[in-house]
């Protein structure tokens, strides 16, 4: 018997359920419907040339994601029932999760908001659908991350108020301002920033460290989240590459605009990832690989091949790539030293690396660790052994753009800060590097409004004038529990109790000179 109810091919189904849902407007102008499409100067001549990065329809998407979710939550349940937190390598590892939950998970939510907005703004139906699907992915990511880590919140400190902390704590203004910068840009810059520079070029330097870090340190809940997000991330990367190629192929006038965005967002992403560098080298009790190795594989090799490929469009590698390549020898050590001295004001603990870890660092960084950084850590260790754990009781100068303390050094002189400053309309501004200074110069009006945590405290906008009050009342850090040195902290003692070890009071947490 003949039937005309033939099953649609995937391609046809996709065509009907996405592109065919769009129409040519008759009584409204396209410009009124998509008011944000032109102002950035990107010229699109033919949206039909957009190659859909993932041929997925909503019905298939829901089905597929629901399957993954079922498996994921079964593992979360088992993890909680079996007290999975007791099987991690060491409780110091949980501090990496605290950084992730307060620094990264809220960015997933920011990505959801960003993609929801730009998914409304393109007149091409293919691009709209891709952005909407990614928006849903990102919402799923923030939810599942919270659920993956909620079990740890029952047993360790510093995880209890991550969304509030993301909006307020000084170092979390680094990821927060990064995303605010992207979300307040036009739709094409947003996609260049997040889909291309972040998801395509730099994503492996965020996800591999955290997800492999979880695997190496026995954190099954986070590993499982990682697997569940992997296929989403693969789609996001495809979108990132498609966006760039599509814009570049549409009009040659787009090339210089995109080049500028690549320069900017490469540098902003690189500065954001400096937090990950210290996580890899210092916070994982079982190391995956060094930051330097990760940078070489995921940026120098993979990124090198990518920019070779983009050369035919007239795109060159990011402007400050060479500085970033040189920085791979230094940034993790510089960041850890910074958090070591300011952890009276963080929701996680820091510590001096063990002798074995210092030797690993010497091996991984033969040209820099022993010469520039080991003496600093050994000096602090000696103080700590005398009961004089070092804290820096003066607030740091922050970079006006990346908002990291101005702690980075000259690319060719690690003994000298690469501080830069300039005057703009009668006000002086300070930067951590040429990269950040350039970003400011290009759009000063955007960055003169920066909400710099140190200046906000000094203006009296953070519920107190001293560090302890700000930390407790404004940040919601539980002082004496969440912050300060790891050794002797409540987390440390709890871990010793779990493992049946004797507490060691010799290098106790509470310093005599902590603010």
């Amino acid at each position: 018997m003949a039937t005309n109810k033939k099953k649609l091919s995937l391609k046809d189904k996709y065509q009907y359920l996405t592109r065919d849902m769009a129409w040519e407007p008759s009584y409204q102008s396209k410009k009124d419907i998509f008011p944000q499409e032109d102002f950035e100067g990107i010229k699109i001549t033919d949206w039909d040339k957009w190659e859909d990065p993932f041929r997925l329809t909503m019905d298939a998407y829901w089905k597929y994601q629901a399957e993954k979710e079922k498996k994921l939550y079964a593992i979360f349940d088992a993890f909680a029932q079996n007290n999975g937190h007791q099987n991690i390598s060491d409780a110091r590892y949980v501090n990496a999760l605290k950084l992730f939950l307060t620094g990264v998970s809220p960015l997933e939510y920011g990505a959801f908001q960003g993609y929801s907005r730009v998914g409304r703004q393109f007149s091409g139906a293919g691009a709209r659908t891709a952005c909407q699907m990614q928006a849903i992915d990102e919402l799923r990511h923030v939810q599942t991350q919270i659920h993956a880590m909620s079990h740890y919140n029952k047993h360790f400190n510093g995880l209890h108020d991550f969304a509030h902390m993301h909006d307020r704590i000084w170092f979390l203004s680094v990821p927060k301002s990064f995303f605010d910068d992207a979300r307040s840009a036009g739709p094409f810059e947003f996609l260049t920033a997040i889909s291309f520079s972040f998801e395509y070029v730099l994503t492996n330097l965020l996800f591999v460290p955290f997800m492999s870090g979880a695997a190496y340190n026995g954190d099954m809940a986070t590993v499982t989240f990682g697997f569940s997000a992997q296929s989403d991330e693969a789609r996001h990367m495809t979108l990132g590459l498609e966006v760039i190629k599509f814009m570049l192929e549409q009009h040659e006038d787009n090339v210089p605009i995109i080049q500028h965005w690549i320069d900017k967002w490469f540098w902003r992403g690189y500065r954001l990832l400096s937090l990950v560098s210290m996580m890899m080298d210092y916070m994982l009790p079982n190391k995956v690989m060094s930051w330097k190795d990760a940078w070489e594989v995921y940026y120098e090799q993979n990124g090198g091949a990518l920019f070779k490929d983009l050369e035919r469009y007239g795109i060159r590698p990011p402007k400050y790539q060479d500085e970033a390549n040189k920085g791979k020898e230094h940034i993790s050590h510089q960041l850890w030293a910074t958090f070591y001295q300011y952890c009276q004001a963080t929701n996680f603990h820091t510590w001096i690396p063990s002798e074995e870890e210092m030797n690993w660092l010497s091996e991984q960084y033969p040209d820099t660790f022993d010469q520039y950084y080991r003496p600093r850590f050994e000096h602090w260790q000696a103080l700590q052994e005398k009961g004089e754990r070092f804290y820096n009781n003066t607030l740091p100068q922050l970079c006006q753009v990346c908002q990291v303390p101005a702690l980075f050094t000259e690319p060719d002189d690690p003994t000298k800060l690469s501080h830069r400053s300039l005057e703009h309309e009668g006000e002086r501004y300070h930067f951590c590097s040429d990269g950040c200074c350039d970003i400011f110069k290009y759009e000063p009006d955007k960055y003169i409004q920066a909400w710099l945590p140190v200046h906000q405290i000094y203006q009296g906008n953070c519920e107190g004038a001293d560090v302890e009050t700000v930390v407790t009342k404004y940040y919601h850090i539980d002082a004496g529990r969440d912050n300060f040195e790891y050794l002797g902290s409540p987390d440390h003692k709890r871990w010793q109790a779990i493992k049946g070890q004797k507490p060691d009071e010799s290098q106790a947490a509470k310093p005599k000179n902590a603010a």
């Binding site: 030293a337 003496p375 600093r376 100068q397 702690l407 000298k416 003169i448 409004q449 200046h455 000179n513």
Partner: protein, 119 residues
């Protein structure tokens, strides 16, 4: 270049001196002493004398560094916002040009940090 925006883009700098309740911010970078990870940011009165600033603000901030006892601020080399600067101890900060968000760079010849490694 100005911001490309969908409408007029009017902004105010967030950190003008007027927002600091009569005080101002002064930064100090002690060269080759990176144990202090970045320049210090101090909230001070513009009327404070430089001698007062040295004694009450800067001295306590660097006290934990093993080199600190050997620092003589008056004999050190100074830059103010990148320009050579000779400090006058009894004069107020603002009166000798150390205004809001100025940066003083302190170089202490002979002192090069923990184990001489600029830490």
């Amino acid at each position: 270049m100005s911001v490309k925006a969908i409408s007029d883009y009017i902004t105010q700098p967030k950190d003008t001196v007027a927002n600091f309740n009569g005080m101002q911010v002064v930064y100090v970078y002690w060269v080759k002493h990176l144990m202090y990870c970045s320049p210090f940011a101090f909230l001070v009165s513009p009327d404070m004398t430089l001698a007062g600033f040295f004694a009450e603000v800067l001295r306590p901030a660097i006290k934990d560094h093993p080199d600190s006892t050997r620092v003589n601020f008056m004999e050190a080399q100074w830059l103010l916002n990148g320009q050579a600067f000779s400090p006058t101890p009894e004069v107020a900060l603002l009166a000798q040009g150390i205004d809001h968000k100025s940066m003083l760079t302190l170089t202490t010849p002979g002192l090069s940090g923990i184990n001489g490694c600029a830490s």
